[in-house]
């Protein structure tokens, strides 16, 4: 957790919003005029996916913030449960997330790994 002024946070959020809108706006500008399957777009999409894969792994294995107080074993098991349900039950997002999170909460309640919060 870092302490930043509200002004700084506002600028950061605005920057993030503009950084996202950049792609949307470019999409409108280029709509139907470019081939979205072209090499540059593909590369950017893969960069995006690889980055997100890294972020997911970090959030599960090396989380920052409140999840640090939970055990790696519980996070990994619950994550694997959710993804397995997703792959087995016809790729439905909601049941997978609910069962995965449910298993996480259940393990948290019943586990001795559960570190009490001060």
């Amino acid at each position: 957790m870092t302490t930043v002024s509200y002004f700084g946070l506002t600028l950061l959020t605005l920057g993030a919003i503009l950084g996202t809108y950049f792609w949307r706006g470019m999409g409108v500008l280029f709509a139907s005029r470019v081939n979205s399957a072209g090499a540059v777009f593909q590369w950017v999409t893969f960069v995006s996916y690889a980055m997100l894969g890294g972020l997911i792994a970090r959030m599960v294995v090396l989380p920052i913030g409140p999840l640090e107080e939970t055990s790696l074993l519980i996070r990994s098991l619950a994550f694997a449960t959710g993804v397995t349900v997703f792959l087995l039950l016809g790729r439905r997002v909601l049941p997978a997330v609910l069962i995965g999170v449910g298993s996480f909460i259940t393990m948290m309640f019943f586990s001795s790994f559960n570190v009490a919060v001060p």
């Binding site: 957790m1 993030a16 709509a31 399957a37 919060v117």
Partner: protein, 238 residues
């Protein structure tokens, strides 16, 4: 072909109020709770949801900020996390042409574009008259955004009232949601990029924490690109 505006409204409401609205409500509950637990204000949660309107970018904003990355890298990271909006908008906007000349209103409408409205539009548009497609998109998108906004606020305020185990479960929902949403894309090279990125992300987080996500993206993405070039398939478009 549906040519009655009322009928279009009804279909848009029915399509959005089911699965998309519930999914968005749930995922944004997770996001709102994460923002609160990261010590950030409710305003950031709301602005993030409505302004970024894409869970990966929203999570990147909170996570990179919490990790102490500098503003420049946070913004670059968020932008890269949302790069998929470019090919989405390119392929989607021409499907709902404006009655008037010009694309000025498209610049406003594109803000509502998300994976949900994109998928719903691709599915429904063939049944809807050209001039009513924007109507469908706006009704659908407005309901989705409302659900996301409500979820964000519930998550932000609710996380403090829950038992600790459940509050942590809500935060844990973020990476899981994220993983299954992305794993659902029917595009093998993108999935390869996702899987290559996972170990690279851990490695760079430990080795070069300041640039971890950017290096992961550029190296992992280029590797996936290289593989995709050597393994041409018909489903290569994002």
């Amino acid at each position: 072909m549906i040519t009655n505006p009322r009928a279009v409204d009804r279909i848009a409401i029915r399509d959005s109020l089911g699965y998309p609205a519930i999914t968005l409500l749930a995922s944004m509950i997770g996001f709102g709770s994460l923002v609160n637990e990261s010590g950030l204000p409710l305003g950031l949660a709301i602005a993030g949801t409505l302004g970024i309107w894409g869970l990966p970018g929203q999570l990147t904003l909170v996570e990179m900020h919490a990790a102490g990355a500098s503003a420049f890298f946070v913004i670059l990271g968020v932008a890269l996390a949302n790069a998929r909006f470019l090919p989405m908008a390119v392929s989607f906007m021409p499907l709902m042409p404006s009655r008037r000349k010009g694309i000025a209103s498209d610049f406003a409408l594109v803000q509502m574009l998300s994976i949900n409205s994109w998928a719903a539009g691709l599915k429904r548009f063939p049944e809807i008259a050209l001039e009513l497609r924007r109507r469908y998109y706006v009704v659908f998108g407005a309901i989705c955004m409302t659900a996301g906004l409500i979820g964000t606020i519930i998550g932000y305020l609710g996380v403090e009232m829950m038992p600790r185990e459940i509050a942590l479960g809500l935060i844990f929902m973020n990476p899981l949601f994220f993983a299954v949403l992305l794993a659902g894309v029917n595009n093998r090279p993108s999935l390869i990029a996702l899987l290559i990125g996972a170990p690279l992300g851990l490695f760079f987080h430990l080795a070069l924490p300041d640039f971890d996500l950017l290096l992961t993206g550029i190296i992992g993405g280029s590797l996936a690109f290289w593989i995709a070039q050597r393994w041409p398939r018909p489903d290569n478009s994002p």
